[in-house]
């Protein structure tokens, strides 16, 4: 999986791994917008450039096996990667793809990844990730999950 450095247009390899206990000292609300310490008991993944420790994005999820679903609880990019002057492109897309791969690995054709963003930003997710709308919940299932993996997963 890769991100694109916006200044140089260079493709850079990334890693997505479970967050470690020591990381919680570094993931401050100031840089990562939410109080991630509250997610310490949840399943949380961090995105870094390959071989680099600096965390560029975070995602926390809840597995709901009875519904063959994974719900995204929190998703964020670091402060420098917010808005039009961001350093890297595709951080959120890669994190959502990572979760989609977990859902597909667990539930195959029944897989579903859901999230419930504020209505002001929902349209962005509907458009960018081809999400389905059910009430206030957005979701990707088959075939959207496969399309997302094809687009973002270059392994």
């Amino acid at each position: 999986m890769i991100v694109i450095a916006t200044k140089t247009n260079k493709e850079l390899k990334i890693e997505i791994k479970p967050i470690e206990k020591d990381d919680y000292r570094l993931v401050t609300k100031k840089r990562y917008f939410f109080d991630w310490k509250k997610e310490e008991k949840q399943e949380v993944y961090k995105l870094t450039l390959e071989g680099n420790k600096d965390i560029l994005g975070l995602i926390s999820i809840e597995r709901i096996p009875d519904e063959w679903r994974i719900h995204i609880r929190l998703l964020t990019v670091s402060k420098e990667n917010k808005g039009q002057n961001k350093n890297y492109e595709n951080i959120a897309g890669n994190l959502i793809t990572h979760v989609s791969k977990i859902a597909l690995r667990e539930y195959a054709e029944l897989a579903c990844v859901s999230l419930k963003p504020k209505s002001s930003i929902a349209q962005h997710y509907i458009e960018k990730y081809d999400m389905n709308i059910t009430g206030a919940t957005l979701s990707i299932e088959l075939p959207e999950i496969i399309n997302l993996i094809k687009k973002y997963d270059h392994e």
Partner: protein, 180 residues
């Protein structure tokens, strides 16, 4: 909300974060129920090809996970993955045997762990998978070998009590190196 197209300009703040945590169990249950109803309707539109593609991707991801974090269990991962692979694509296992030019009996012996797969078997399986996955996703040539040898290493190391006494009889150290 609707699916109307927006332009490519990013909605301010859209990608920096989503707080999507449920406020209560009641909300989670109600959302899950409504979502499931909608999903079941959408699932009816899935084609056989899409379902097979999902199952093959699932198998690939499971094998990659096993290679990354080999599970130390006395389970036959190689043959279990192989059964999944064959049963996803074929209605009958004999058709796979025919496609890789082996007898149904030898395939059955491999699948039932009565016989170790020969190198030739794994090579044919490798080429078969390469062609099957070609239009779905990248599939590393070495995947089946890696699964097979990971399992082999684990089995060998964890069953030392079974083979070691006999094998040790055949090993003699005629020149023992002493630390200087």
């Amino acid at each position: 909300m609707n699916r109307s197209k927006i332009n490519n300009k990013e909605i301010p703040g859209a990608e920096y974060g989503v707080d999507s945590r449920y406020a209560s169990k009641k909300e989670k249950t109600a959302d899950g129920k409504a979502l499931m109803e909608a999903r079941l309707k959408r699932m009816k539109n899935l084609s056989d090809e899409q379902i097979i593609t999902a199952k093959l991707l699932q198998l690939k991801l499971k094998m990659e996970e096993f290679i990354k974090n080999p599970v130390e269990e006395n389970q036959n991962f190689f043959t279990d993955f192989l059964k999944l692979y064959i049963d996803t694509i074929y209605n009958k296992r004999v058709h796979f045997a025919k496609d890789i030019n082996i007898t149904p009996v030898s395939l059955s012996q491999v699948l039932n762990n009565h016989r170790e797969p020969k190198e030739e078997f794994i090579l044919r399986l490798m080429i078969h998978s390469e062609k099957t996955y070609a239009k779905i996703c990248d599939f590393h040539k070495k995947t089946w070998f890696q699964v097979y040898f990971h399992e082999k290493i684990y089995d060998t190391m964890s069953n030392q009590s079974k083979w070691r006494p006999q094998v040790e009889k055949h090993v003699n150290i005629s020149r023992l190196i002493k630390p200087s």
